[in-house]
């Protein structure tokens, strides 16, 4: 079978490296807007991640034992975007409290 094609959206704006400020795991990230994020891990980064290693209580639910994501990395990516080190594709200004509107 054919090789898998790359995401067409990466043609104009590729993934960029970002490091977690807590564990220094390096991932590739992309933000099309302040509230969108794409995150590519590799094995080395996943091993580094501290939140990943702290196992929460086992759930009785079949899908609730998966690692949903790292909060420290999420914050690091946002900071990198705020500092201008990670591009944000949309030109919408950063809302002062972007988290609030989802509540």
């Amino acid at each position: 079978m054919n090789a898998v094609r790359p995401d067409v959206r990466l043609e104009a704006a590729p993934m960029q490296p970002v490091a977690c400020t807590t564990c220094e795991a390096e991932v590739l990230a992309r933000k099309s807007s302040w509230d969108q994020s794409t995150l590519q891990w590799d094995a080395t980064a996943l091993e580094r991640c501290i939140e990943r290693r702290t196992t929460p209580a086992r759930s009785e639910r079949p899908n609730r034992n998966a690692f949903a994501g790292c909060a420290a990395l999420r914050a690091s990516i946002r900071e990198a975007a705020v500092r201008g080190e990670l591009d944000v594709q949309s030109d919408d200004p950063l809302r002062t409290n972007p988290e609030a509107i989802h509540d």
């Binding site: 054919n2 067409v8 995150l39 590519q40 996943l46 899908n63 609730r64």
Partner: protein
Amino acid sequence: MTSNDQVRRIEVDAGPRRFARGWHCLGLARDLADGKPHQINAFGQKLVVFSGEDGQLNVLDAYCRHMGGDLSQGEVKGNEIACPFHDWRWGGDGRCKQIPYARRVPLRARTAAWPTMVQDGMVFVWNDPEGNPPPADVTIPRIPQVEDDRWTDWIWYETVIEGANCREIVDNVVDMAHFFYIHYSFPTYFKNVFEGTSAYQYMNGDGREDVRPPRPSKSNPAVLGTTSVAAYHGPSFMIDEVTYHYEDLDVDTILINCHYPVDENSFVLQYGIIVEKKDGISDEEADLMATKTGAFIKYGFEQDVAIWKNKARIDNPLLCEEDGPVYQLRRWYQQFYVDAADVSAEMTDRFEFEIDTTRPNEAWRAEVEQNLAARRS
């Protein structure tokens, strides 16, 4: 007409010539373990599923190695399946155990037996084009709620989808917008995570006022919203944990959405539902809720099917930034179609994608308003 060089062309790669490696659910044990042979057309072949006196569920190639009789038209005798043509008896291990009219069984009287597993009331078969047994770490998560009295029994549906490759249904896991347009839901939060052999979808949604009953009642309450965690465990078996939020209570459900390929261009879609009987909900109410949820999901899949039957296979989808990670999902899905030795890190490495729902939600709110206005006038 637009000149050709301005037109984006739909590209179609050659479809896979093999079927995905992994556990595939064939249906419920209560239906398949009834002592009768069941014919299952899967993976481009005809299979027979049967359980003998020992209760063991077996899956064999349906064509008898003697003269090609169809074992699925045969009869279960003891622990074996007897061919309808000359009564040769085949065991669950694929070996011919007995030929009633012969002094002895010839050499190499062996047919293909498929690894099977019965778990939480469901029958699974392992498909591997390379013929290897299932690795110990490739599993389907347990669903302890199935055995729990506080949950209803499975309500189960099966439907054959002709004219579509099963990749179409797998694509749904990243397709946020279609949940609004096809399934009358209103996603407000949407995130995918792929890692290893699993592909997760975290989705929260608001109730749609424009599809609600105009006058909600106790037997027909308004859904205010949903919280859902869904995941493919392997290429074809999805568990979806959905909580429906009503005005005065939350109802937890577990849905199964699974399929097996019949051939490259058709598949059997199955889905099942169990519902938690919360305090204050009678068994009857919970069963009714399960039936209603099932009917709603059935309706949703019918909408999908109408799309699949008419759409083109497309390997270069043109995406906007508010679409989900279609390409990365297909990269993950590819791992099941290559030899185990050729599964690369990029297919299984963890990948996360969170959609910004701001703009879609603005557009959808406006559309819901319009529908409500049209309903009022």
